[in-house]
């Protein structure tokens, strides 16, 4: 049974003479129980898509439903059955941790104490601070409180808009473990992120750019769709690589990836030509080897192709 369905969703923002096409015909079929990641940079349309799916804004065209409830017609019912963690911290800063949780429980017509079981795994980190004002929590704690408040009514589908943006690598890792735990309890989770490396933690991902889906598939299937042979290059003079390869007609793409460059070539002779050229330009300790592409390699490839 599909939990989240969208058909040709489009949305355009108009301000004076300028138009922004935030979404251009998005289709989605997300089965119940899936951890789905919407991956793309700022401005790709992630927030617009989530806001339509949680019934906060209306699409210009197309339809969508969550758990069989239409996002326009059945919005009242829909809102009681989903949880939503917006991108901006939207809890009451001058209420305490506990007050926030009780407030959200009463809005959803549930008793916070009776529902405690559904948030215990996350709320236990917050217990020691339950009388602290939400505004005085650290970033990681705020995020856990927002998640607790979104889960207090035991929703069947959870939407999170960039929960890990601006969050350091360690806290991001912890947050994804929490999401995996929720998923294993059967919850459907729709989460957006600008971090490409987080795609690997999802059952399936949608790569979104300029309001269009570049690909929707499992992370491993997306990687298999990368049609070229990808090489990782390192030399003793990494800062010169880009400039020294700029004249090499056989290089199709060259992107810096931390300690390496990731390269693709137009021809089979490309790799040999490239190594030869680098040797001529004075590089040594040259290592060029075939590697498996990651989601970020794929994203850049599909982005250029689109």
């Amino acid at each position: 049974m599909d939990s989240i369905i969208a058909r040709t969703l489009s949305k355009t923002y108009r301000s004076g003479k300028s138009e922004t096409h935030a979404l251009r015909g998005i289709d989605l079929d997300i089965p119940a129980g899936e951890l789905f990641g919407l991956v793309g940079p700022d401005g790709a349309g992630k927030t617009t898509l989530i806001r339509i799916l949680v019934s906060l804004i209306l699409p210009d065209q197309g339809t969508a439903s969550v758990g069989g409830m239409d996002v326009v017609r059945d919005y009242g019912l829909l809102r009681r059955r989903i949880g939503y963690v917006p991108g901006r911290f939207s809890l009451y800063q001058d209420l305490t941790v506990q007050e926030n949780l009780h407030f959200f429980a009463s809005v959803f017509g549930v008793n916070a104490d009776e529902q405690y079981g559904s948030v215990r795994e996350i709320y236990k980190y917050l217990e020691p601070f339950r009388n602290r004002k939400a505004g005085q929590l650290s970033g990681g704690m705020k995020q856990k409180l927002a998640l607790s408040c979104a889960l207090i009514h035991h929703p069947s589908v959870l939407f999170l808009d960039e929960p890990t943006t601006g969050v350091d690598a360690v806290s991001r890792k912890e947050f994804w473990i929490l999401l995996s735990q929720l998923r294993s309890q059967g919850m459907t989770i729709f989460v957006s992120t600008p971090y490409m490396d987080e795609a690997a933690r999802c059952d399936r991902v949608g790569l979104i750019q300029e309001g269009k889906m570049l690909r929707i598939d499992t992370p491993s299937a997306i990687v298999r769709e990368f049609p070229l042979t990808l090489y990782a290059l390192s030399t003793d003079r990494m800062s010169r690589v880009k400039a020294d390869l700029s004249g090499c007609a056989e290089v199709r793409s060259a992107f810096a990836f931390g300690t390496n460059y990731h390269l693709t070539f137009y021809t089979e002779e490309g790799p040999r030509t490239c190594v030869h050229l680098l040797q001529q330009k004075g590089h040594s300790s040259i290592r060029l080897e075939v590697i498996q592409p990651g989601i970020e390699d794929c994203f850049m490839y599909f982005m250029k192709e689109a």
Partner: protein, 245 residues
């Protein structure tokens, strides 16, 4: 060849009430370095950066930035450095050209120099035809590029970049770092924070802050050897993991 350090901090400390945000950090940054300033959320990076850029006073310790004392000459520091904040620092309701003129005015560029730099910048950014568009209408990647161009409008010898590439698409993110490396190659110094660990590898040296202190400092190569890690991500996870949030 190193010359006087661009930044020299000694036991630099900042307390907020009982909380020690930055705890006796000492380090130097030299001309022409791309210095990465890493740390978990709440480790004290922003507070340290704000002290070094003259925005807040230290509680104790010393720091000299571009030859100016952070206690007595903070105004001179602010005039001399470039600064690009985490979130967008341009005026969305002004056009591209109006933003350039506004910042040029703040940094005291004369009309001739300003129009020359504006031309260069718009050509490099390929935004000549959009100069009269509102900044609000630009895609995020372009805005961030423009924000960087504006931060170096007065050609500061030292630029602070606070998470310049958050949320930027992967192609523009890489273009952005090429620009930063270009600016450094011209002899300038860049002091940058980031949450992307692949970007940490591009730094000539970097430090990792943990609970207000500097837990590691060196070139990526030195740090890999010293801590026995494969890359800066592993180093960061090892050092920051023990702290929790």
């Amino acid at each position: 060849m190193k010359g006087n350090p661009v930044i020299r901090a000694n036991d630099l400390t900042r307390r907020f009430g009982n909380f020690v945000a930055v705890d006796r950090i000492s380090f130097e940054v030299h001309p022409g370095e791309l210095f990465g300033f890493l740390g978990a959320n709440g480790a004290g990076k922003t507070t340290a950066m704000r002290m070094l850029s003259g925005l807040i006073r230290p509680t104790s310790g010393t720091a000299i930035v571009l030859g100016y004392d952070v206690y007595r000459q903070s105004e001179a520091i602010k005039r001399s450095i470039g600064y690009m904040s985490q979130r967008f620092s341009l005026y969305e309701d002004l056009t591209i050209m109006e933003n350039i003129r506004f910042y040029g005015g703040i940094y005291g560029l004369n009309a001739h120099l300003l129009s020359q730099r504006a031309d260069e910048m718009l050509t490099q950014l390929d935004l000549k035809h959009q100069r009269d568009q509102l900044v609000r209408s630009l895609p995020t990647g372009w805005r961030q590029k423009l924000a960087f161009a504006v931060a170096i409008l007065h050609r500061p010898r030292l630029v602070f970049l606070d998470e310049p590439t958050g949320g930027v698409d992967p192609i523009v993110r890489r273009e952005f770092w090429e620009w930063i490396l270009d600016y450094v190659a011209q002899g300038n110094t860049v002091f940058a924070t980031t949450h992307y660990m692949d970007e940490a590898e591009y730094c000539s040296r970097l430090s990792v802050m943990v609970n207000g202190r500097i837990a590691a400092i060196g070139s990526p190569l030195e740090l890999r050897g010293h801590f026995g890690v494969h890359d800066m991500e592993e180093l960061f996870l090892n050092l920051a993991a023990s702290t929790g949030t």
